[in-house]
Amino acid sequence: MEQSLNVWNWYDGWVNWAVKEFKEQYNTSVTTAAYSNPSKWYTKLEAGNDEIDSISATSAWVVRSMDNDFLHALPVDQMDGWSALNELAKSDAEEYYQRDEMVYAIPEAQVAHPLTYSTDYFDEDPGSWDVLWQSDLKGKVSMQDWGEVACRVAALYTGQDPNNPDDFKEIEEALIQQKDLNVTYWKDQSTVQQMFENEQIVATVYTDGRTYNGRFQKEIPIDMSNTKEGFMYTYDTFVIPKGAPNPKAAVAWTDMGSKPENAAEKVTTMGYLPPIKNIGDYLDLSDEKIDFLSWPQKMSDSATFIQPLSDDLRKKFDEIWTKVKAA
């Protein structure tokens, strides 16, 4: 196996822990890079990668990379992490990350985009995306500055299929109606926790991991809602890009990182949920935390996988979002 490895993974807290483990196990030097947007690594793959060995790739970027033949197939049969995936993750991975019986990405975290709300403000789970449209909450809510997420949330709110909506005008009108209720369109995940902490907002679309991190690690009074209209989720996955200079070390890293006992560290270091069966068996956590982390089982009926958008639909969402912001 090669003696060096270059990892691009935005779970920086977990990476710091994993690098030590990997070095001890394989005596390999690991360089790491975090990134703020997947376009950073995707551009490198487009230009012909000769630098990155392993990437934490997310949702549509994985499928796009597969479509463009940028990824190596993974020897998942030899990886404990593959057989340990929970039912939902296994079936999603087989459907979206597999081509010709070859798997190109193994889920490392299950990421939901739920409605997160202030438990100080709401006595109980508001249970509906309606709160982002309630006029009495004007100046107390926020929408994410990401057209795809905003349009999908509006699709859920208006009773449409977020992966294949049919009434774009309704989505646009709903978002324009919602616009003035927002404090801002948030772009950076960490500022959301600050806004909850400062009582600037009481509800927004967020991620389960950041909600867990805020609630249990920073003691911010927030929780994720089981919205009656449903919510979206996706995966961050381990992938090995073509052109990786240290492919064997990358396979070893992927194998180590996806093993249940190592993947479980993602909860303690970052608050994100590895999509493995019986996560509680690998963690010494309170019942309340375990209950929070059980959303894929508890809320599986409400959760809709974020399917990769067709080019036309992505353009449509982008156009709507630009119009809304310019309105």
Binding site: G147, D188, Q194, D311, F317, D318, T322
Partner: protein, 302 residues
């Protein structure tokens, strides 16, 4: 010994050859900078132009669709206009603040170097870090709130985060040094006796400023305006992090095309439009700086 002599002779003959060979001299002194300009400016710009003319991500057919989309509807023209207004506002603030600052340093300060160092100090810090510093200052219960409460200027904490003033303050803070330096350079190059002459002839300080100081430092002011307006026009991080829902600049739309919409050709077309605006600004700046005529020397003083 003979080796040292022969190498000295080789160097001397090389220098002699260089002096006599005009094409070699031209190649070195003009070819290298031209090569750098072509490789790092012209080719990327041409590449962006080519990308903007593609229908889809490459490989794809050529088309003018993206430019038609920009200029046929109201949407992008409005965004360009709003960007221009915000740029004008922030540039005006920076010019006024920068000129006052430069004037104070040039006329009244003895610790010029120290103050200039302090002005440039923020440039040594990463742009994003500076934005997060501003968030800590502007947010509800932040430094600004604390100071205003302590001074009795406000009775409640609210902060100015996610407002139009926050964006203007952010842009002004970031680009202030870019304007201050050309202002300072033009003020220090000014002959002070002209101010004395103006006063001797009966002009007050305000009249002297507008009739003598400002016209003489006009080139520096124009340079400052151009230096501030160009990056302000393309800003996307500051309005995205500090602004509310009503601050949309063209830079944010371009970023959206590259990072989430996967529509690089359209992003490139918007980028080309911004480039055209910037080039127009530079040409106008050079034109007015040269008193209405563009020459290599910057205009005829007579």
């Amino acid at each position: 010994m003979s080796n040292a002599v022969s190498s000295r002779e080789a160097i001397a003959s090389g220098i002699e050859y260089f002096r006599e060979n005009r094409w070699l001299r031209l190649g070195l002194f003009i070819g290298v900078p031209v090569g750098v300009l072509v490789a790092f400016f012209a080719l990327p710009l041409l590449s962006m132009l080519w990308m903007s003319l593609l229908e889809e991500m490459p490989p794809s057919a050529l088309s003018l669709d993206h430019y038609i989309r920009i200029f046929t509807g109201d949407l992008y023209v409005n965004i360009l206009w709003r960007t221009a207004v915000l740029t004008a506002e922030s540039t005006a603030i920076v010019v006024v603040l920068g000129y006052i600052l430069a004037y104070s340093i040039a006329r009244f300060s003895k610790r010029t170097t120290l103050i200039l160092m302090l002005i440039i100090l923020p440039f040594w810090t990463n742009y994003i870090v500076r934005m997060y510093a501003l968030i800590n200052i502007f947010q509800k219960g932040g430094v600004l709130d604390t100071v205003m409460l302590a001074l009795g200027l406000t009775g409640e904490t609210g902060g100015i985060m996610y407002t139009h003033p926050a964006v203007l303050a952010g842009l002004s803070y970031v680009w202030l040094p870019l304007a201050t330096f050309p202002f300072y350079a033009s003020l220090t190059n000014m002959d002070d006796s002209l101010i004395d002459a103006s006063k001797d002839l009966g002009a007050g300080p305000i009249k002297t400023f507008f009739r003598v100081t400002l016209p003489i430092t006009k080139d520096g002011v124009i340079a400052g305006i151009v230096l501030v307006a160009i990056p302000s026009f393309g800003s996307f991080i500051t309005p995205a992090l500090l602004g509310g829902t009503n601050v949309l600049m063209i830079g944010m739309v371009i970023e959206q095309q590259f990072t989430s919409a996967f529509n690089w050709p359209f992003g490139s077309a918007l980028g080309m439009v911004v480039t055209a605006v910037v080039v127009t600004l530079i040409v106008l700046g050079a034109w007015y700086g040269a008193g209405g005529q563009i020459t290599r020397s910057g205009g005829d003083l007579e």
